[in-house]
Symmetry: C3
Subunit: 133 residues, 3 copies
């Protein structure tokens, strides 16, 4: 398992971490199988979306904040329930297929760490798995 | 890795792709492990839900459209931010356990490609992984 | 594959099932790889979130109910469309990395079965996968 540290710089942002998955696949010498990236945090998530127009990330973060505002009928004393809820809405891991030694992402896809309660130092865990029967 | 082409016929719909996963498992001769289905697109998702009453799919698509309307405070110039956001809310892959050569889905579960910005020709990637320690 | 039965006691609740994943890893003797937990139901989900303050679970369940109320413009005749939609929003499986025989969860993370239409007897399937190239 590879462990990567990602430093976030604002309360809410999406950071492209695809190169960390590519590096793990290359280091493992994986030809065919899966690469899994996992976020060991409860106020950050991970998702796959468009890497071309940064307004896609802006619109995604802004709309999640409209769906789950920072303040509301929340009881969690730390005041970051919005971040916990958005983390479960995006998910704690992504799974990408590897074939011929390459991540099988679409042309416009990247893997993004979703910071919902930063800035913080976040960990990202990456594991490779061989394919086959 | 199996690559399947799925043609969608409307802007928003859910298409049962479970048989493509079954076929990949049969072709690989996989007895026990996982099958992963991945969508290499950023305006389509994939999810598991009920295959019996088509109104479940209708209600799911209709409610996602209420949560993320097609028009709103969006900046992405292509005008399909709703589709990008719904793609991250449903996710880009599903993982199903295989045991005894069979997908371990519940009686009412199927795997659905979620088209949020069609009609288009979409790809679906399927990878099998052997279980064990 | 391990199959576990979880009895839920109210319509909507989150139940910590992490120990079932730990047991499957120990029984398989898995050192490094993945453990996947899958819910074979369409009105229950599974997610990873905070295990310390129970108000995080309360806030998550309450907010999902605000986003997807029990009654609304739904056609599914069983009257539990909210549960189906929330199941797709949380997802039907979680994937956790295993290293050195241990689940690589963050300090505050647990795996929770999300009951959205109980009380019922629910199944949870757990599969281990070896890592490597």
């Amino acid at each position: 398992m590879n462990k990567i540290i990602v430093k976030t710089t604002s309360r809410r942002e999406m950071i492209d971490v695809t190169d960390h998955l590519r590096r793990a696949v290359a280091e493992a010498g994986l030809a065919d199988g899966l690469v899994v990236a996992f976020i060991p945090h409860t106020t950050a998530g991970i998702t796959i979306n468009e890497n071309a127009d940064p307004d896609v990330r802006r619109d995604l973060l802004a709309h999640l904040a409209r769906l789950v505002p920072e303040t509301g009928d929340f009881r969690h004393s730390e005041g970051n329930s919005d971040a916990h809820i958005q983390a479960s809405m995006t998910g704690s891991s992504v799974t990408v297929i590897v074939s011929g030694g390459k991540l099988q992402l679409g042309a416009w896809q990247s893997v993004f760490l979703c910071e919902f309660d930063g800035p913080r130092s976040r960990s990202l865990y990456v594991q490779t798995i061989a394919g086959g029967k």
